[in-house]
């Protein structure tokens, strides 16, 4: 009988599932994003979403693992043109007051699992697919709205591939899917 041989995709999925299951906290966000940088004037505001696993390493700091999807809409005369990226990132979130709440900073590094830009080239829509390194830096404010923990945040992110970069800024409000207790009283 032939043994079932796991593919790379399956292994990645299993690993991601394990990591999210062992996460103490998880959160999800829907936000507004804007492509910035050279030759991005035809991009309008886009939308972004992510789920994030949070692994506390101290009262003030968390390691984070984030899987996102960002869509940017391009007004270049084509139909349905724009850019989509699906980055997975690991980060270190550090709250400035040391409580795990309030203002924080979060550098992240990761990999763009899939990216595509569809744009009008000589009258035809051309799909350009890419991967690439992802670097991001974010800041935000963790607070309680009643008994609901929220995170209002601002991120700057860049995807680097093929000698170019897609850079964007996102503003989002994060909702916690599951929230473990810290020592902080909330």
């Amino acid at each position: 009988m032939r043994a079932l041989k796991p593919t790379n995709t399956m292994l990645k999925g299993i690993l991601a599932s394990i990591l999210f299951f062992i996460a103490v906290n998880a959160e999800a966000q829907l936000g507004v994003i804007k492509m910035v940088g050279p030759n991005t004037g035809q991009y309008s505001f886009g939308i972004g979403a992510y789920v994030k696993g949070i692994f506390p390493v101290s009262q003030a700091a968390d390691l984070t693992l984030e899987l996102g999807a960002n869509l940017f809409f391009l007004n270049d005369g084509g139909t349905g043109d724009g850019t989509a990226v699906i980055p997975i990132k690991a980060g270190y979130r550090y709250s400035l007051n040391g409580t795990g709440m309030g203002f924080y900073v979060e550098p992240q590094v990761g990999y763009n699992i899939y990216g595509v830009t569809s744009e009008n080239v000589d009258g035809y829509t051309k799909d350009l697919t890419f991967h690439g390194l992802v670097l991001a830096a974010g800041t935000g404010y963790l607070f309680m709205a009643g008994k609901t923990p929220l995170d209002l945040n601002l991120h700057y992110e860049t995807v680097i591939a093929h000698g170019g970069s897609d850079n964007y800024v996102s503003l989002g409000l994060t909702f916690y899917l599951r929230f473990g207790k810290r020592d902080t009283d909330y």
Binding site: G37, P38, N39, T40, A61, T83, Y92, Y94, V105, P107, V109, G115, T117, E119, V121, D122, K126, L128, F130, G132, L133, L135, A136, A137, Y156, T158, V159, I160, A161, H162, G163, G164, S165, D166, N167
Partner: protein, 186 residues
């Protein structure tokens, strides 16, 4: 970890300084791979130029810029015809050769009236004995030719073969002519 944050932010900033988006970088790579054929020259100091992306994809029988092997009209004599079309008109030159190679090719008035180019609806000919047009093929590799050319032509004022009316002999100077990466079709 705190000490690493400035290093990370500087890295992020510098990576964002790449001057083109990923899509632009990929398109530039794509153009570099498929190549661009160019031709330019000056007609009495006025520049005529054009470029054709992916010139090999042009039709061998209907192209904007190319050189094709054919038979001289009404004969079985093989020739190579270099043809170019721009917004100001068209241009043509015949290499009288069975086997195109790097070298010097020239026509002068002693060969009889020969059409060379059309510049904003004025046909320019090798007509007068002082007229000439000469091409240098400086490279011929992988089915593409590059080189330079120059000439002295006479404008045709009114067509009425065999009694065409010509303007001032040698009054049209072709200078700074160059062609690059022009495909040769067989």
């Amino acid at each position: 970890m705190k000490q690493l944050l400035p290093v990370f932010l500087i890295t992020l900033f510098l990576s964002s300084c790449l001057k083109q988006t990923i899509a632009d970088a990929m398109l530039a790579d794509s153009e570099a791979q498929v190549g661009v054929a160019t031709m330019s020259y000056e007609v009495n100091g006025n520049t005529v130029t054009t470029s054709v992306k992916d010139p090999d994809s042009q039709s061998p029988t209907a192209y904007q810029l190319g050189c094709s092997k054919t038979l001289y009209y009404g004969t079985t004599i093989p020739i190579y015809s270099l043809d170019f079309l721009s917004t100001s008109g068209d241009m043509g030159f015949i290499f009288y050769s069975d086997s195109l190679s790097v070298g010097h090719y020239a026509l002068n008035g002693s060969y009889g009236d020969t059409f060379v180019l059309n510049y904003y609806n004025t046909a320019e000919f090798v007509h007068d004995l002082s007229d000439s047009i000469s091409f240098n093929i400086t490279s011929y590799s992988h089915g593409h030719i590059s080189g330079n050319f120059s000439g002295r032509l006479t404008p045709m004022i009114t067509a009425g073969n065999p009694n065409n009316t010509y303007g001032a002999p040698g009054s049209v100077l072709i200078t700074n002519g160059s062609f690059k990466n022009v495909p040769v079709f067989y």
